[in-house]
Symmetry: C2
Subunit: 440 residues, 2 copies
Amino acid sequence: MPTQFDPPSGTRDFLAAEYEKREWAFGVLRSVFASYGFEPLQTPAFERLDVLLGKYGEDADKLVFKILRRGEHEASGEADLALRYDMTVPLARVAAAYGSQLPTPYKRYAIGPVWRADRPGRGRFREFVQCDLDILGSPSTLADAEVLAAHHDAMIGLGLTDFTILLNSRQVLSGLLEVFGVPPQLGSGVLISLDKLDKLSPDEVTAELAGRGLPGTIADDLVTAMTATDAEDRIRAALKDSEVGQAGVDEVDRLLALVAGQIPATRIAFTPRMVRGLSYYTGPIWELAAAGVPGSVGSGGRYDHLIAQLGGPDVAATGTSIGIERVLMLLAGDQAAGRGRLDVAVTVLGDDLAADSFALASAGRAAGLRAGVYLGGSGKLGKQIKWASDNGARWCLIYGHAERATGEVTVRDLTSGEQQQVPAGEVGGYLAARAGDRSA
Amino acid sequence: MPTQFDPPSGTRDFLAAEYEKREWAFGVLRSVFASYGFEPLQTPAFERLDVLLGKYGEDADKLVFKILRRGEHEASGEADLALRYDMTVPLARVAAAYGSQLPTPYKRYAIGPVWRADRPGRGRFREFVQCDLDILGSPSTLADAEVLAAHHDAMIGLGLTDFTILLNSRQVLSGLLEVFGVPPQLGSGVLISLDKLDKLSPDEVTAELAGRGLPGTIADDLVTAMTATDAEDRIRAALKDSEVGQAGVDEVDRLLALVAGQIPATRIAFTPRMVRGLSYYTGPIWELAAAGVPGSVGSGGRYDHLIAQLGGPDVAATGTSIGIERVLMLLAGDQAAGRGRLDVAVTVLGDDLAADSFALASAGRAAGLRAGVYLGGSGKLGKQIKWASDNGARWCLIYGHAERATGEVTVRDLTSGEQQQVPAGEVGGYLAARAGDRSA
């Protein structure tokens, strides 16, 4: 395939099978989200440049696809618009624009492409779908619980059961830094190192902490507490001495209790060492880990005040993001497969028979089946039956001059090879009945 | 609403009701297209600049949104990518890229946004959805018939019946120019003027034709033949003297005969004066006119060779484009409306009751209903019932300390105002049964 016919670097063409699989998954997600009373939101592919830039720092700004001004301004080489980088900045704009028209709290989901000029790689694209579920305007842990339970149900809906939700809280992390005596200025660096305990050995993390200037005894104590077989108990005990830490533990326990009926205990665990890197989280945080997949397949948490920082109103907020591109890679390809393009394929064995053949296909569609006529140039029956078979049809309707003479159609079952003569006017009913047999 | 929170000029935010209406319509289209054995195709939002530019002339190129190069190249002010302008250029690229992997003929549909830097206006957007249905690789009139019948069925599926398909053929137009003696160099201009017979008076069109340099008698003859009450008969008779014209009439008649069982004769008419402005059409052409809508709500035709001109292989092609944004404006807003956000709204009347309330909502979802808990800050029952009602819920589940003491839930029917005590463990079954009653 010559390079010039590829889609642009980091983007993909979705032909039928892949498209159907994705649409199936998006449909499952929409349905789960709706069952919780979340409503959809769709914003434009691009935003004004000033809405997008400067929201997540310089590194993020570099990944923004900017759109050149048009007409007489094109020569300036300046941009005035940019492709959507995530779903949260548009959410902040929408919250500012439609405030009173939106329900309170505003429970919305967004499923759609975002664009980032990242270096393309395995599983990393420049155009990819984000799937976000958020509640604006409720500080209640019940809101966190709804988001988390909906995320869980979405995974189950997609047929995935082998995953774990790692649950923690920013307050727990603050408490940890406090009770272990981590100097405040080292706090965020220490958390970043602790987050690596799932990839690095305890000794490596201890060394990294020391490298950050953390006194060796503190580093030792922290890593030992975090990696002990009774780590959770140790941390719970230690945090009793920290007001903020204990508040975090209480919040985690409350959230665990709320979702207990919905999320099996084997699939969710308080994980004190889990640190979401993003500094905007203000309460519970979580990450989904799936068997055999490095990194997370979804994450979220409470992010009060972020909407204000992004240009929206200052509202309490919590949300989750389903790593749908990764999840799609986990799915077997057969959700929508196993179906051919057609149920009923109709031969066209002469120009003078074409109108009748076309009407037979219509009758098939009227019976609720997918039906089409042969559009190729061969008048040979064998070729046309091969076309029917190549398109996965269950039946081939053979209609030649002999059939016209008797007012019948030869219905060939392409699975069994059996043929039956059916009066032309009764083909729709015959196929509908047979289709019912099959699915029953 | 401050200007800076608007979506960019010419684009729209789709909140829940509008989104649901659009998704409903797209779902109808997908289902109709699949019933004919068309398969979906989705290509990236942007293409390489050289793929897009120079395909439809300079005026079209000016409407292309170009994407600035990134990183060190950003300062050059140059673009290397551009947002999709239509669905046909990407189709040509896909046909070139995946040729042998695609079925022959390739029957595909594409529904998705395109972007044009047009001056925004009433019903004219810079981001709008195009819905295209095409068959590549079949020169057969049966392919034109499938496309046309599927377009018709899509309109019916959307609930629209008051529309007419104006059918013509490029060969008919060529024959007309021939038999009325129009000088070849005036041909395309004459057709453009004749196309205005639906908006201008015959005299105005005659004058415009004269202005183009067409001898007055020819202009008179042409306009008289086209606007006579027996125009179709006159044109049919006149075209008997033109080989190409008669071939066009035969093709139109063949197409009419093929779709006769599918499209009522009242909804399709041979319309010799209908000229699709686009020069790339090579066979039958059609346009859909809907009552009360100026311009067309869809159009298409055969366009052999265009795919090659757009950079793809030289294949026979026919297709149709549903003017879905215009069609959506014709649709009543109530396809997906009349539904609230929730079926079941659950009170939260105390922190100690929250987990039970959350579980009640889960039971509602397990019964196939949309259910959520109260996330607001008020502990007052009246406020919570108002919230339930505001969200369109059919039932409010009231669960306070009194209910907990008896292990029951008060189920309030928000339509009738009736209340019933139901054992907490039986709420799901109770709601499922009641929901069944309602829909039965």
